[in-house]
Point group: C2
Chain length 445, copies 2
Amino acid sequence: MTDIPPLAVLFVASSFLRWYHVSMRQSELFTRTRREAPKDETSKNAQFLIRGGFVEKVMAGVYALLPLGLRAHQKIEAIIRDEMNALGGQEILMPSLHPKENWEKTGRWGTYDSLFRFVSYYSKIEYALGPTHEEIVVPLVQKQNLSYKDFPFAVYQIQTKFRDEKRAKSGLLRGREFSMKDLYSFHASDEDLDTYYEKAKASYRKIFQSVGLGHVTYPTFASGGSFSKYSHEFQTLTMAGEDSIYICDKCDVAVNKEIIADTKNSCPDCGNGSLREEKAVEVGNIFKLKTKYSAPFGLRFKDEKGEEKNVIMGCYGIGLTRLLGTIAEVHHDDKGLVWPESVAPYRAHLIRLGDDEKVAKFADEVYKEFLEKNIEVLYDDREASAGEKLADADLLGMPYRVVVSAKTLRQAQGGHLEKKKVELKKRGEENVVLLDAKELLKQIS
Amino acid sequence: MTDIPPLAVLFVASSFLRWYHVSMRQSELFTRTRREAPKDETSKNAQFLIRGGFVEKVMAGVYALLPLGLRAHQKIEAIIRDEMNALGGQEILMPSLHPKENWEKTGRWGTYDSLFRFVSYYSKIEYALGPTHEEIVVPLVQKQNLSYKDFPFAVYQIQTKFRDEKRAKSGLLRGREFSMKDLYSFHASDEDLDTYYEKAKASYRKIFQSVGLGHVTYPTFASGGSFSKYSHEFQTLTMAGEDSIYICDKCDVAVNKEIIADTKNSCPDCGNGSLREEKAVEVGNIFKLKTKYSAPFGLRFKDEKGEEKNVIMGCYGIGLTRLLGTIAEVHHDDKGLVWPESVAPYRAHLIRLGDDEKVAKFADEVYKEFLEKNIEVLYDDREASAGEKLADADLLGMPYRVVVSAKTLRQAQGGHLEKKKVELKKRGEENVVLLDAKELLKQIS
């Protein structure tokens, strides 16, 4: 009982999973890039994501994900889902409309910071719009009438959350509507929670590594509330962040400024007293709730001896929308975004320069090669100037830029596709190489 | 320009798509089946879906999807997504929080039936919770500054919607929070919309066929509003439905009762005057909006001659939560659900009867075979009585029930797996056959 049994970790890649197109012709994409950043956005993440047509602002703190932005989001989602499944999490989907009585039961109806609360005009029912789901998941689990043999287990969802922020700011970093993954674990003992908590911590490190933030993300000691000494946040270094953290370079952990006095300005792991302060954004947190939410709902179980006990809980959150914004904040240069390969909307950006018929034909051939090899590619087949196309490629930031032009064609030694050359440049690097199609596909795939 | 160019229809099945487990041990599933239907549910869909642990009611008109229900929902989602991509739709994700001014612009702030409207306590902003997204998608498209060459195109999303229903009822058929797919198409001419509309109609028929409702779903003439003579609903026959439709058996179409007087009690397609009345539920609708929403926002484009015109629009909706409820309503018997193969949470339900060690070992072997062949399977490895397990198999309604017991083992001719027998029964059929593992896998996959 010290461990959540992993569900079968075999996966099926059957036909109902085919929800990504491997490719897109840019001439068909309905979004447009913009030269100028919108005047009402001061954060780099919003500026670049809007200029690239990844997202669109609907109003303060509320964004729409456009095709390229949704793809990046879906990739983040898939990375997180894989890890949650590996942690034994069972996926569910809870609603956003929450009954008032549940929030009254936990005492948070009137006290929860930024809770959207409203009375329906038609039905006169009082609702909260879910910013977190302890108030829903606990009664839901309670209805299952569980015995001690059923623990531990964990459920999670990837879902839209709402917060009535006094000031929405920093683009996607602090919105009023955003997507989150929240996992809740249920245990028969504190020790079992402790074991699972450490597993979840390791899983979180893996996730932030996978999305390209591992090198700047620190497990950070934060307040544990009334039930635990500490909780852990995962804080990513960026000047756009609202938090201040103190990093221990010996342990690669940090302490949130809010509790730095409690730790006597030193690292809780090794006692190191020379910590450096940095600005950061909280991209995830894990928390030992213990009986904080099970008790008010009376979520109890009978142990082996027939004794009734409160269920022990943990909760584990990651903000996906915020993660998307943080990746943009960390991975950009003056010209635009520099997507990590794992979350890039497309792996390659194939660019046809000029309208020369031979160039167009060759570019189409290269595009076809990508499709046949199942390499995700955005194909810039638009009628536009070379300057505009190359600037867009930098702005959109796909990892591999592949240019086909009259110049690259002149390098061809003969009429065969294999002999014709393309130009390959990795985003974020200066080095440009001339390759034939075969070498290209080998390099990219 | 008469056609939306299909995006590349090649798909990639790469690692980031592995979001379904191929299998689940029922002993690990945290949901429980119930013998009794909840007293506050009168509809069959809610009764069976709750008894089976597919969904849980949170409050009137608001449900949570539990692991088995979410799987069915995700399969419906994948079927719809495939068809929307084939229709050239570009997937996006719009928010649920809508600004009041957008709804004022279309005149629907005070008139839209069942619009959730509220004032934020903290930020004092007035919001609507989106029941549909014309008010968001039109300004979003407008920001892209499109020219006549950019038409036609279509965008869609699969997203949570909210309706402040005076009375939530019929379980998942009429909720206050539910998931929908909404696609919006944009055209330079009425003729182009007409062409696309017919394609969408064909695509809808395919979707309802794919989810197992084709035989009872009718394209149904409904009111076209102020801009068109007719719109089309897709109505599925069920006594749980709120609508009445008049079916023309010659054309396999129907007329909504609301406009039957306008069609002079006859079929608009063939003039047939002997129509039969049936109860039905609206599972989808397609509508020629024309300039109804583009005009108030000033969504215009310049045509070839430089003349400014309003963009022509169509909208196309399918309620996924409602579809899940409708499938349960159409596909059940007295004992429980009878899932169509295409949307069943798992293809097979492997049931181990008795705790005999040899039986358990053999059942584990069969389970492993399923995993190796990538056949989705729910494995009932619980310690429970045969009666309980078989009743649960009927209630849960997976298409193929596979029983391993001391009895089936006695049929074995030797020690080899190939010789050992299992019992196969299709849900909804009475016929039971004894097979060895090899034959079984051939029959099921």
